[in-house]
Each structure stands twice: as C-alpha cells, then as structure tokens.
Assembly symmetry: D2
Homo-oligomer: 141 residues x 4
C-alpha cells in the first residue's frame, strides 16, 4: 500500500506522540507501515471491568487507535483523520496478560479510509481474538 | 420499564463499584433507573487525542458503560451482561468542558438487551451530541 | 429541518421514480418532508424468508430507502447520495400484513448525513418494531 | 470447520429452497460448506437503484443470505438462525454484470455465530469489492 505522504512515518509518529489518552491507558505502537499498524498492551489492574476482564472500552479505544493511525499513515501531510463510525464485535472475553492489536486500511480513498482492526492475546501459542472492528475514517484537509 | 430484579439498584451499583477502568478515566454515574442510566465526565487533559479533543475511545468507553449498566439494571440477580457488539457514530468533535451521557434499554429481552446511548455537552445552553451508539448486550446466567 | 434545495420535493420524487428495485419489491412512499420520509409495504408471499416471516433483506432494503431519500430531500439539486455504511438491528420477527417505515436525517452535514430508520407493524393497535437502522449517507456532487 | 449437524447439507439446502425472496431477486447459491457459502447473481434491470447501479438493498439482502446460510450449515438439525444485527459497508458502486458473494462463520458459538460476508464483481480479471458485512446470527432451538 502506498501513502500519499512521503513523510508518512514522521507524521504518524508525531500524531501518536500527541495522543494523551493513549499514554494514560498504556498502549504502545510496535510497528508502523503505510496503511498498517501494530501495537501492544501489558494488562494492568486499572484496565478491568466489573469481572476482572479487559474492559470493553479499552478494547474499543485500542481498535480505534490502530485503525486511526493506519489511516493517518496514508493521508497527505497536514490532513487530519476523524472517526466517522466504528462497530466492534466482541468474540471472546479478555483474560490475557498481554494483548496485541493490528489495524489496517482495507479500502483507501480520498474522502474515507475503510479500516479493520483486531485485538488478541495468546493462550499457550493459541491466538484468541478478543474483538474485531470495522471503521470508517474521514479525511479532512 | 420494569426490572427482573427487585434488588436491581444495589446490584447495578455493586457492578459499577467494581469497575476499575471507569475510575481510571474519571466517569461518574449520576442517575440509575431500571433500563436507563445517566452519568457525567469532567474533561481532563489526559482524555485528549492528538488534536486536543475528547478521545474517541473515551467516547466509546462511556457509551459502553451507560448501555451496559442500563442492561445490568434489568437482569436477574446474579446474571451477567456482556457486550456482543456496539456501533458508535461520531456526530461532532468533543470540545466540551463537561460531558453528559445516557444509556437506555430500547428493547429488553431474555437473551439480549438492545441498547442505545448518547454523549453530549452544552455550548451556551445548546446541546451538542458528540456521539451515539447502538449496542447488543447479552445476558448470561 | 430545512433543505439546501428549494426544489427538494420534485428532486426526491424523481429519484424515487427511477428506483427499479423499489418497484420490484412493492414498497411505496406515503410522505416526504425535508429530512423525513414515510412509506408502506403490503406483505406478499414473495417477501418471505425460510420461515414465512418478512425477509431480513426486505427489511434492510426498506430501511436503506427511507434513509436514503430522507438524505436526498436535504441535498442541493443535482447532488447524489450514496450509502457509506448501515447497521440494522432486528428487534422482532416480521409477521405483519402491512409494514410501515420511517427514515430521518438525525445529523445533517455537507459531506454526510447521519440517518436513522425504523420499520414496524401493528398487532391490534400495538406498534411492533421489526428493525431499526443507523446509516451514514455520503453527499457527492 | 465442523458442523454440529451431520445432515448439514440437506438441512441448509432445504432452508434455501424455502426462501421465496431469494428466488424473487434471482440469487443462486453455487457452493455450500460447513460455515462457508458462495453464490452468484446475474444483474438484471430490476436490481437497479436510481442511478442504474446495483441497489444497496440487493447488496444487503445477498450479504444477509450468504452469512445466514453459512450459520445454518453449522447448527444442530431443527435449530433456527436469526439475524440479530448486521453492518454493511459499501466499498464501490455496483456496476458489474455478474456478482459473486461469499459468507463465512468467523467465530462459531452455541448461542451466536459471528459471520462476515462480501460481494464483488470482476472488471477485466480485477476483483472489485462492492460491499462487506459483519453480522451476528443467533441460534434458536
């Protein structure tokens, strides 16, 4: 996938750097490519919902970010990305110690990027998907 | 709307009390009725995304909780509620100082509660909707 | 709600007139206002899915149209409307003889109209909602 | 993927056979496997929306069916499948002569099957995706 911005990496990193809520929840990006991001979360007690599992809001927040920055990596320098809408489907309870998330632009465009994301953990080498999302990202200049 | 649990208020409050991520982000419930919840968020710097607006993950987290506890207020004592899926649509950028959110069970059921939620702020007396959601909550015994 | 097109009624009617699939399934619009449409379906045997209920595809098609033409009634003359995405939630089985549907623009905009729709029937004067949708409509000039 | 029903093929075919709206729109299933279906549509004039493209309701109807019967192929004999909710995202305008659709169970379960589907056509050997869906199917006994 090719970015509209030759300076995409620095631009995406700058946007990530400025995201304060990302830091507040402890998520980290581990890989950035044009139209594709990966990141990691080390589970902490403050991430829990009422039953001790990963909070669904943590899940949706992470999915929003992996998709959002996948979109940012594709747009022209100075253009902004906003979430129009996102649907998250919860496949399995989040009972991992470490979570991995990926987001990608499935259908790039001038006005929208249609993105997909997923978050998972490993239970003895078996990948357990916690949730998937489909998201419309608008490009604003 | 009538709850299946005559002890619904204590049960819902207990579940809210146990939610650690709710505390981590600073959201507070202000009103609980069977099938309907309201809450409030005082905006803080750590809620920001890259442009200084309310992070979309904050929005989706709050919407998940107002709907989730609206569903909890309706189920039998001891039954649990899990988010099956949720779609959030973002109507306006979040640039308020205080946010208000509401969640309600739009269609109750034995196996699912179909819920809707919204989050808004006021700009001089004018209500600005930041986002709305439609959510399927599963009831598990 | 005010339309950007003073000629909105003729423009919307012309678009409805040209819609061949609408005729094929037998749906009829009964009321058009800026940003709000209503219509009616008389149930016929060919609308059935495998259990004799109204087919979910009939439901989603009708919801798409009541929302789509609600959006058409708001745009400038000559502008087109396309469905970006739509989520339908199915509240009750469709076992009516006549169905009524409504679509409205919940949040108008230049580039998108966020719409909502619902379809229902009556069981002795009681309104039974079959399904609701939330839909993003893009405006293209 | 393994079905809970050793008689899954006959059961799924019987359900397809009974679907009258499927016949009314001219869709045909071409391949059935446990948890995976494929089908085909030859475009006809009555499938058109107002601009001569494939109607979005046709798209959502087909996606509902490829997912629904993928779910039917997995459930126990006599159990029924109902669509809980579905989100369709429209990637490209439908301007093909023949359309191909696929549905699959992405996450099977006892109470739900989470399904995904897509519909596409070919433009000189290039696959053009018209739309994708994510759908929650409930299993009812």
């Amino acid at each position: 996938m090719e970015s509209r911005n030759e300076n995409w990496l620095a631009y995406t990193q700058e946007m990530i750097e400025r995201n304060k809520f990302l830091k507040h929840i402890g998520f980290e990006f581990t890989e950035l490519k044009p139209g594709h991001t990966k990141g990691k979360l080390v589970f902490q007690e403050f991430h829990e919902q009422q039953n001790g599992y990963l909070h669904g809001g943590m899940t949706s927040t992470i999915l929003d970010m992996v998709c959002g920055y996948a979109a940012y990596s594709m747009v022209e320098q100075g253009h902004l990305v906003f979430t129009v809408e996102s649907k998250c489907t919860y496949y399995n309870r989040g009972i991992g110690k470490e979570y991995f998330a990926e987001g990608f632009v499935d259908k790039p465009g001038k006005r929208f990027h249609f993105c997909e994301g997923l978050i998972y953990y490993f239970e003895n080498d078996k990948k357990i998907i916690v949730a998937k999302c489909t998201t419309t990202m608008a490009v604003v200049n």
